[in-house]
């Protein structure tokens, strides 16, 4: 399974989210999930199974398919809940 974190320029925010998702995956002891980050222009639906986007660019990334929208990109609890939910849906947890 592959997760892609997306933000406007694909440099800072999405990268931070990627690192946080990796940290959460480590805490949950889940392996075999590839996490990466990208800018909104480059991201295409085929790039990943699930896309993590901040609320402010949710509209622009709606075409990507399975999109998880984060209310706050620095809230680790929210991210953890949402990552766990995705993993459960995919049968990885």
């Amino acid at each position: 399974m592959k997760i892609l974190a997306v933000c406007g320029s694909g440099l800072g925010t999405s990268f931070m989210v990627e690192m946080n998702i990796n940290q959460i995956l480590g805490e949950l002891g889940v392996t075999g999930v590839e996490v990466s980050h990208s800018d909104l222009s480059s991201a295409t639906p085929g790039d990943a199974d699930v896309f993590f986007l901040a609320k402010d660019i949710a509209e622009g990334g709606a075409h990507l398919g399975e999109v998880v929208v984060m209310e706050s990109i620095i809230d680790m609890d929210e991210l953890k809940t949402k990552v766990t939910q995705v993993l459960e849906e995919k049968g990885l947890l």
């Binding site: 320029s9 694909g10 440099l11 800072g12 925010t13 990268f15 222009s41 402010d56 509209e59 706050s72």
Partner: protein, 446 residues
């Protein structure tokens, strides 16, 4: 020995080595280490490739602008100027970035400024600017890297620090800092917002603001659109005769302009991919190492973290900042000299943040006026920054965000007064000042 110097003077190899050290320090396995090191190596070469495309799209713009208005027109864009700087100062930039991060960790470890600056692309960009300024100032290689690294470490710590009072007010806690080198503009916006303290309750978020400008957050789209508008306007003023005879080789002048504008966006797109590859191993390593070494570190994160606090202020701030940019441009037309054109990207990202801070201290009015001030600041700083950048001052593009301007002008002017000595003394003084309050505070608490 000569081979060793050859290897180390290739920035692509050097950043790959830095990534390799980072990966080994994190005890990554063999496959991750090989993958990460290679990606970093290739990433640097991707940046150089993008720089070539960008330069070939910028040169005709500069020529057309001069032909049309008889002055130099500059479109501030960090990616563009950094890519150009890296082709000449790549090795020094890589070393300054690496040691600058070390200095950042040391300052955070030993002073009361517990900020770890995690916005990697801004670290890279500032390292490139400092490499240029220290070289223009006349340092030798070792001195240049030492002074550049210390300066970078200081700015990485002070930029989040000056904003922290406003970040506390905005986020309601003291756990996260903002790591974006436009802090001076944001702080100015927050201070201007304070003038409207009375109408603080009248927040931007009470307004029902039309959505639908979200596509501007897509940097490829916004860069391409603004460059098309600017290119076409300038082309109309320069006239078909000149363009078709001198620049386009006979191709219709508007078609030529359209393609050049698109090429500029393409160049930035490629550079961003390269920057992403270069940083993908270095930033996590920096984050991992700093969390181990600095207890209670406050991570300073990229600017969009504050946008959700006031989504309307994000758009209002962009417009107000852009208006500030246009206002400044008009003033520059009348005063003569270099003309700084308002780029959508810097005004969107920094204007948006200025809007959020202005709203936090002064509501709607604070947001509008604060962002306008930010727009004026990021328009005028480049005018004074460009003369201290040596040859790169003539590149038709320059660093866009406020802290680049402020720190660049500061170190550049010191160099003009008394060269490397002035810079060295100022760095020592700043470090000493940053270290002193800790002792005082400790004495008080004891």
């Amino acid at each position: 020995m000569q081979t060793l110097i050859d290897i180390l003077s290739q920035p692509a190899i050097l950043v790959a080595l830095i990534a390799l050290i980072g990966l080994m320090a994190q005890k990554k396995n063999m496959s991750d280490t090989v993958k990460g090191t290679t990606k970093t190596f290739v990433g640097f070469l991707v940046i150089s490739a993008g720089a070539g495309i960008l330069e070939s799209a910028l040169v005709p713009f500069g020529a057309m602008f001069e032909q049309a208005f008889n002055v130099t027109g500059v479109v501030p864009n960090n990616e563009a100027i950094v890519a150009l700087a890296l082709s000449e100062y790549g090795t020094n930039t890589a070393l300054i970035m690496f040691f600058g991060m070390v200095v950042n960790i040391l300052i955070a470890r030993f002073t009361r400024f517990k900020y770890i600056f995690l916005t990697g692309h801004h670290t890279l960009y500032l390292a490139a600017m400092l490499a240029v300024i220290m070289a223009v100032a006349g340092f030798d290689t070792i001195g240049l890297i030492a002074a550049g690294s210390v300066a970078l470490g200081i700015v990485m710590t002070l930029s989040p620090a000056i904003l922290q009072p406003f970040m506390r007010q905005l986020t309601g806690n003291d756990n996260v800092a903002l790591g974006h080198f436009s802090a001076v503009g944001y702080a100015a916006s927050a201070l201007v917002g304070k003038l409207f303290k009375g109408s603080k309750e009248n927040s931007t978020e009470n307004i029902n603001f039309p959505k639908g400008l979200g596509f501007l957050r897509d940097s490829t789209v916004s860069i391409a659109l603004t460059m098309v508008v600017m290119y076409v306007i300038v082309a109309l003023f320069a006239g078909p005769t000149y363009i078709e005879a001198e620049l386009s080789g006979g191709t219709n002048f508007l078609v030529f302009s359209l393609i050049q504008a698109g090429s500029f966006a393409a160049g930035v797109f490629i550079i961003l991919s390269g920057v992403r590859l270069v940083l993908s191993e270095i930033v996590p390593a920096f984050k991992g190492i700093s969390t181990k070494l600095v207890p209670n570190a406050k991570p300073a994160l990229d600017v969009p973290i504050i946008y959700p606090y006031a989504p309307n202020a994000v758009l209002i701030g962009f417009f107000a900042s852009f208006l500030g940019g246009i206002f400044s441009m008009v003033i520059m037309i009348f005063t003569g000299g270099v003309i700084i054109l308002p780029g959508v990207v810097p005004h969107f990202f920094t204007g948006a943040a200025a809007g959020v801070f202005g709203n936090a201290t002064g509501g709607f009015k604070g947001s509008v006026v604060g962002s306008f001030v930010n727009g004026v600041i990021i328009s005028f700083l480049p005018v004074f920054l460009m003369p201290v950048l040596g040859d790169l001052g003539f590149a038709n593009t320059t660093f866009s965000d406020a802290d680049f301007g402020v720190s660049g002008i500061f170190f550049g002017s010191l160099a003009n007064y008394a060269g490397p000595i002035a810079i060295t003394i100022s760095l020592i003084v700043i470090l000493a000042l940053m270290a002193i309050p800790v002792k005082k505070k400790k004495a008080e608490t004891k």
